[in-house]
Symmetry: C2
Subunit: 328 residues, 2 copies
């Protein structure tokens, strides 16, 4: 199988992208990695690469400040758009990018196109849970506003994703809400709730933000705005707590010693909360495999995104989604 | 000054409510505490109370499962509604309740009434920040859906609250959003942003959920749904991290010893994150002082809510809000 990596997107591009790609190529010799980007920059970094790595030149780059729709329309030779076109035209089975999120959504919509029956692709992210199993939350920011119909589509796609990739029998789908009772919420969630009950999925009702980490469901449905608030509140709080612990732990020589004893347990726990372990965020609903890496992806995260792209291709998620949603 | 406490509302009522009231009465002899609720239950608990505590009998209780509007309309002799009426009719300057949140909002709207010029009262909560100063976030759940106009009213009320109660010169008001740039967000925040810029407040722009604990602003404006997601995600994540730490710390005899060394620093930090330290959540925009205690309020939280009610009365917040918002 062939996976295109936008080598120029992300805070640590192109170095980390190339490094991650090389590691992935070594680990999975059956996979052809296509590094898309500026050949002059990429060639020296890819020196000594295994034979299953190739470079596809793209002369432009979409930056973090670029206006998404404009950038995708105008920068037709950007690494991101070229990677998308490669998937669209059958030159690769998946694309990965850690670049401009809005531009990647737009590439998904305009270059790859939607699966028939899906109005809005959703960005799905594995949020950490204490049991290590994670919860697939979507939408985490592809569309800020959602209609009840969009939430239903997210629910079906998320459910099928966890079935297909992880073999979960009957994933528990929850609706992010402010209370667990059926009547709770804003207009959107109140309208969506009874419709979710009628879907052929295992809908377990409303899930409160505080119960997400306890693993109250396998798939969590929300509009992109609320999802982004949830994700960043979890990130921010965990970061703040660990930061404060660190300063409490290094206050005195004795506390430093005590902290050293506890460090292994802490590290193990921190690893559970680490998004890079879970790979990237699939953009579900586009007609192709498209994985978004975190903007600050390091080589480890890029490699894990390749692992995830491989799994997604192998599980035949896109044709299965297409069949389930549109009946085709 | 006179403060009415709904003695029957909350998970630990009436015991904690009475205990907290007695502590407050001892600390502030100039304050008359009116315990509203079932006399037969309250009298034995209030044995030996200082002379500035009195009991006002109310025969009914609004429970956590009661439908708010129906309950407030029908249970006219419930402890919550009686406390509200007391404030409305001038028998007390403030009310405190840790009971049914929806019913307290309804009591605010239907019994106390709104300040002219305010469409929707907002529930404000002090969220913890690492510097210990906190950020006043509103709305945290009085109204699930908000219009841009409501957000503007929250901004003005929140700003005046921190000015009046804490003497902050020019509180920094931020808009909860998914990115810091001006064009980010959903329809609501995109519409509200330019309007907030025109208000006579210090609007510092968008604030991401992950920057809240770092103290990015003094007042955080959001609709009730997003605010509730933020609050509960922060609570849930902090709780999960502390829980996991605890289990990591008690794994072996040596780690227990190490944890004991670190305990004081941890306790200090946990205290910073403790909502009970910050008192209750004021319902801003109603024509009277109305403080909501957390449902699980203990005596310490109730006493801190009394402290907050005293400060709110002394700062003349309600007449100042009324003057600023309606010009009257």
């Amino acid at each position: 199988m062939r996976i295109a990596i936008d080598a120029m997107g992300g805070d640590h591009a192109p170095h980390s992208n190339v490094e991650g790609a090389l590691r992935a190529a070594k680990e999975w010799p059956d996979t052809r990695i296509i590094l898309v980007g500026d050949e002059r920059q990429l060639a020296p970094l890819a020196g000594g690469a295994p034979s299953n790595v190739e470079i596809l030149h793209a002369s432009e780059v979409i930056g973090p400040e670029d206006e998404p729709v404009k950038a995708v329309r105008r920068k037709k030779d950007s690494s991101m758009v070229v990677a998308g076109r490669l998937v669209k035209e059958g030159g690769a089975e998946a694309m990965i990018s850690a670049g401009n999120t809005g531009a990647l959504m737009t590439t998904g919509l305009l270059v790859l196109g939607r699966i028939p029956g899906i109005d809005r692709p959703g960005l799905a992210t594995m949020l950490p849970t204490l049991d290590g199993k994670g919860v697939l939350a979507l939408d985490l920011g592809a569309n800020m506003d959602a209609s009840p119909e969009h939430l239903l589509q997210y629910a079906r796609m998320g459910s099928l994703y966890r079935k297909s990739l992880e073999g979960l029998d009957s994933p528990r789908v929850g609706l992010l809400n402010v209370g667990t009772e059926a009547g709770k919420g804003n207009e959107l969630t109140k309208e969506a709730y009874p419709l979710l009950e009628e879907l052929p999925i295992r809908f377990v009702g409303n899930v409160e933000a505080r119960d997400v980490m306890d693993g109250a469901c396998d798939v969590l449905i929300c509009d992109g705005f609320a999802g982004n608030i949830l994700l960043k509140a979890m990130e921010g709080t965990a970061g703040a707590v660990f930061g404060a612990l660190k300063s409490a732990f290094t206050r005195t020589a004795v506390s430093k010693l005590a902290a050293a004893v506890l460090a292994p347990g802490l590290r193990e726990f921190k690893k559970k909360l680490d998004y890079t372990e879970h790979g990237g965020a699939p953009l579900l609903g586009v007609a192709g495999v498209c994985i978004k890496g975190h903007g600050s992806s390091d080589a480890h995260a890029i490699k894990n995104a390749v692992r995830q792209a491989r799994l997604t291709i192998q599980s035949e998620l896109v044709p299965r989604l297409s069949k389930e949603i549109s009946g085709k």
